[in-house]
């Protein structure tokens, strides 16, 4: 109970997640369970149902590229921003806003088309492409069908 009652706001990592799809909701729930302060923004409040019941962070409904909303969601105090909406260009724009306008230290964007990531080069924005990861994992499994990694069900990256 002690941990719930004592809010050590400043010492906790502050994470802002844009997009509450399966990936966003899962990540938000995990980080929240791990003790991070998590805020999540989504354009449709219905999607917040995907968050785990134990999610202890804040939710904001609206456009994640809107400066006012981002400010209200506390982007200025964030250590990291993760853009995981289902739209590549939105993720890239959010990432650039976080990096260039609000100077967030760690910025990660999910992109489905890795070619688009070229716009973020030299901006200290990390990008992650789920299809690349899945394809690498599949290739590893195909090359080594009885591999130790695949038997554990872990991604051999």
């Amino acid at each position: 109970m002690k941990t719930i009652l004592s809010f050590k706001k400043d010492s906790k990592p502050q994470t802002l997640i844009i997009g509450c799809g399966r990936l966003g909701a899962n990540l938000a729930s995990r980080l929240s369970d791990a003790g991070d302060n998590v805020t999540i923004i989504n354009d449709n409040a219905d999607d917040f149902r995907k968050l785990s019941p134990s999610f202890g962070g804040l939710t904001f409904e609206g456009d994640g590229t809107n400066f006012e909303l981002l400010t209200a969601a506390g982007i200025r105090n964030c250590n990291r921003v993760v853009a995981v909406t289902n739209d590549d260009t939105t993720n890239l724009m959010v990432a650039q806003i976080a990096r260039k306008k609000f100077d967030v230290r760690q910025v990660i964007a999910r992109i489905n088309d890795p070619e688009r990531g070229a716009v973020c080069e030299e901006m200290a924005i990390q990008t992650i492409c789920p299809f690349d990861l899945a394809s690498q994992a599949l290739m590893a499994m195909i090359k080594d069908p009885a591999g130790p990694d695949s038997s554990k069900g872990e991604l051999p990256l």
Partner: protein, 228 residues
């Protein structure tokens, strides 16, 4: 060789812009991801039309964007327009990128991200409507160059101090130029011997908005011009 311009996205605005640029002898390519838009664009003579998503680099490559001097992003989504302009600039080395922006707050951000010109349709149109709605008959001021230069349209009344005089004998404020005289619906580019007549309208360019007050007095108008 004809200068090449690519227009990405947009509906009616893309069509009108393409037509206008074609009449000015540019080589114009339109990229649109909506098939019906493409068919209506294809009806324009001389316009090259590509059906595809302009936020994808290979579509831009197909459209030979690397040979274009100017790229204009007209999609209805700010994020798409930003990425299109960035791809054009960084990957295809297009000299000039112009983007439509929905959210007026993002104009500065787009420019900071390297977009050469960001045009906000909403704030531009509301600005014009506001000017029309609030304009008094005396003068309308149009601020240009980040508000440093104003263009005012000032009518000359019958009892104006300057009516009947030639421009060379009238003392205008130092930072002011009479760019044009509108007389009977026709525009005259004035010289020093041009005579101001009652009923003329002077198009005055000034780098000091307060100068218009002096001009107001010279032209026989007492009301203050409205700065919008």
């Amino acid at each position: 060789m004809k200068q090449k311009i690519v227009i990405i996205g947009g509906r009616d605005n893309a069509r009108f812009l393409a037509k206008s640029l074609l009449t000015q002898k540019y080589h114009v390519t339109a990229i649109n991801k909506d098939y019906t838009c493409c068919t209506s664009l294809a009806e324009i003579d001389g316009l090259e039309v590509i059906h595809g998503d302009g936020t994808k680099p290979y579509v831009l490559e197909d459209a030979c964007v690397d040979q274009c001097a100017t790229a204009i992003a007209l999609t209805h989504r700010d994020a798409d327009n930003l990425i299109i302009c960035e791809l054009c600039k960084r990957q295809f080395h297009v000299q000039k990128t112009i983007s439509l922006v929905k959210d007026p707050e993002k104009i500065e951000f787009f420019k900071a991200m390297g977009v050469d010109a960001a045009v906000c349709a909403v704030s531009t149109v509301t600005g014009i409507i506001e000017r029309e709605a609030l304009k008094n008959d005396i003068a309308a001021l149009l601020p240009l160059g980040e508000g440093r230069v104003s263009v005012a349209d000032i009518p000359v009344s019958a009892d104006a101090a300057i009516s009947g005089k030639s421009l060379s004998v009238i003392t205008f404020p130092a930072d002011t130029v009479v760019g044009c005289i509108i007389r009977n619906g026709k525009s005259v580019i004035p010289g020093g011997d041009s005579v101001i007549l009652p009923g003329d309208r002077l198009i005055v360019i000034t780098s000091n908005a307060n100068s218009t007050n002096t001009i107001q007095a010279l032209t026989g108008n007492t009301a203050m011009p409205k700065v919008i």
